[in-house]
């Protein structure tokens, strides 16, 4: 009895010591316990596994409080890296079923509740079902009862550095494509490296994208690769110059898929190509071109023509 009283006091103390955070996407680097409180003395309620991402909402020392299994749990932060620029789904109904697959024909695993937020595994969701991590496993919830929210980085992995004030040209590492049809994987590689800090080889990304010598890589798969490897929330959208500039102001480079025949730095030669827009001037943009080199300048009109009169679809952040 006394012990229970002491324990309750400890919980109260720790609860008051917890520091609330903006919702943070935390990616597990291995199998790690999830407990009822911020310490190894608390009971284990489940586990998170390598690659799974949970949403952290508060910290106490090195412990993170996460949404887990329909409630919350505590897990040690040293086994997680934070994913910046990713997207979560927030439950907007009192109780929402969690299923093992993307239809009502799959079994119910449990529930999530109003206000809880889960990491959205964009690349594997099947509309209108959102794939999430729930209680140590993959699961699905219906999209009609959630809203998307931005998740911040932070925690153990630093977010990308903010652009220095007064400049609009992000310090993005440039890579050249290693063969003549890897522009898609290379442009994804550049963005992934910048957004998450992680380096992935072009062959790895090309394998994920299904890149082929005959048709290269689709826009769609470039976007999928960024979201998969960087845990980011890029979307395939219609080209919009102001959106591009806004992304850059918000420290986000964008992938573009374009027709080179409208670009001066390509000598107006005819080819389809992927690259990364990472800065802008008053009348144009800086492009990290995977074939031509870093910081190539194209006027706003050139880029508009090159993208809009190509497919008009390109991978940009929300």
């Amino acid at each position: 009895m006394r012990l229970r009283g002491a324990s309750a006091t400890l919980v109260l103390f720790l609860a008051s010591a917890a520091v609330a955070h903006a919702q943070t996407a935390l990616k597990a680097s291995g199998t790690v316990n999830v407990r009822t409180g911020p310490g190894t003395g608390y009971g284990i309620i489940g586990q998170a596994h390598a690659g799974q991402v949970y949403v952290g909402i508060a910290t106490s020392g090195e412990w993170w409080k996460i949404y887990y299994n329909g409630g919350t749990g505590w897990t040690h932060g040293s086994y997680y890296s934070a994913l910046s620029g990713s997207t979560g789904v927030k439950v907007t109904t009192d109780t929402l079923n969690v299923r093992s697959g993307p239809s009502t024909g799959y079994s119910i695993l449990g529930q999530v509740y109003m206000g809880q937020i889960h990491f959205w595994t964009v690349h594997e969701s099947i509309a209108p079902w959102y794939k999430i991590y729930w209680g140590g496993r993959e699961a699905y919830i219906h999209g009609d009862y959630v809203t998307r929210v931005n998740l911040t980085g932070g925690g153990t992995a630093p977010p990308p550095p903010p652009p220095p004030s007064g400049t609009t040209n992000l310090s993005v590492t440039h890579y050249y494509q290693v063969n003549n049809y890897y522009c898609g994987p290379t442009s994804a590689q550049i963005v992934i490296q910048y957004v998450s800090g992680a380096y992935y080889g072009q062959h790895t990304i090309a394998a994920y994208c299904g890149t082929s010598p005959s048709y290269g890589t689709s826009n769609w798969m470039v976007k999928q690769a960024i979201n998969y490897y960087a845990g980011a929330a890029y979307s395939q959208v219609s080209y919009d110059g102001e959106r591009l500039r806004n992304n850059i102001r918000n420290n986000r480079p964008s992938n573009i898929n374009f027709q080179c025949r409208y670009l001066a730095y390509w000598g107006y030669s005819s080819a389809m190509h992927h690259s990364v827009v990472k800065g802008y001037t008053g009348g144009g943009f800086y492009v990290h071109d995977t074939w031509m080199g870093p910081n190539k300048w194209a006027s706003s009109t050139e880029l508009y023509n090159a993208v809009v009169y190509h497919y008009n679809l390109t991978a940009m952040r929300y």
Binding site: Y215, W220, G267, Y268, G282, G283, W297, S300, E302
Partner: protein, 277 residues
């Protein structure tokens, strides 16, 4: 008598002094014309005494355009662009200097950069004389990159009416410049005018053009969903990708997705199919 003489002289002298004073006063009054009414700042400046307007204005420092363009890379581009654009606004002669360099520069990026600086100043890009200058380049220059850059200037004008017919001729008769002329005619989203002649030309190109890039572009610009539906089975993948963006029939697009063998085209089709919901 002598006394009378002295008095008369004194009176005459006083009269002369008074007359002289009056005369000086009249002269001065005549020398100062009635001030003009001031209505505008320009009038105000003109009404100032001559020494007020004679103050010499400092001539702007000359800019060695070619020397500056040698450093046209990385973050320097933004600085040079800002400096050149400011100078174009304040110094019309500088705009002509830029155009001279445009006519002799051989680097495609610098050529495009120069036209873009000139186009940044609305009075220039909307001036029929400047449109004519650039259109002549598009029609006659020997270098393709300069011709294409000239069309970029024209594309940014509020209206291309003064050069419209000649642009149509370029789009129809100049195979090298056709695609560029078409997008210049189509215009930027905020400067687009409904133009039945462009639609008719795009229709003709969509029908008979052999270059798939141009054919696809023409289908997009014409915007005819029926023609686009037929083009969903075009042998050229580029054409199919363009066409699926114009199609409005979900059934037609769904059928095309089922039979499409190119994975990239299929993904573009699926994206647009989702947009049609």
């Amino acid at each position: 008598m002598r006394r009378l003489t002295l008095i008369a002289l004194g009176v005459a002298l006083a009269g002369a002094i008074l007359a002289g004073a009056r005369g000086a006063h009249d002269t001065k009054r005549r020398a100062s014309p009635k001030p003009r009414p001031v209505e505008t700042p320009r009038d105000e400046a003109a009404a100032l005494p001559s020494e007020g307007v004679a103050e010499p204005t400092r001539a702007p420092e000359p800019i060695d355009i070619r020397a500056r363009l040698l450093k046209l890379e990385g973050d320097e581009i933004a600085k040079i662009e800002e400096e050149f654009e400011a100078r174009v606004i304040e110094d019309p002669a500088f705009a002509l200097q830029l155009f001279d360099v445009f006519l002799s520069e051989t680097d495609p990026v610098k050529v495009s950069f120069l036209q873009n600086v000139l186009a940044s100043h609305p009075p220039l890009r909307n001036d029929p004389e400047w449109l004519e200058r650039f259109l002549k380049v598009a029609e006659r220059d020997v270098r393709f990159d300069r011709r294409a850059a000239a069309l970029l200037f024209i594309q940014q004008a509020e209206t291309i009416r003064p050069v419209h017919d000649r642009l149509l001729a370029l789009a129809e008769g100049d195979r090298e410049l056709c695609a560029h002329a078409l997008v210049a005619l189509r215009g930027l989203p905020d400067r687009r005018l409904p133009d039945p002649r462009l639609v008719a030309l795009a229709g003709r190109l969509a029908e008979r053009e052999t270059n798939p890039d141009v054919r696809g572009l023409a289908i997009r610009i014409e915007g005819n969903p029926q023609r686009a539906e037929k083009a969903l089975s075009d042998p050229e993948r580029v054409v199919r990708m363009h066409a699926c963006q114009v199609v409005t029939s979900r059934a037609a697009l769904e059928a095309a997705i089922r039979t499409e063998s190119d994975p990239e085209v299929k993904q573009v089709m699926e994206f647009h199919f989702a947009q049609l919901k």
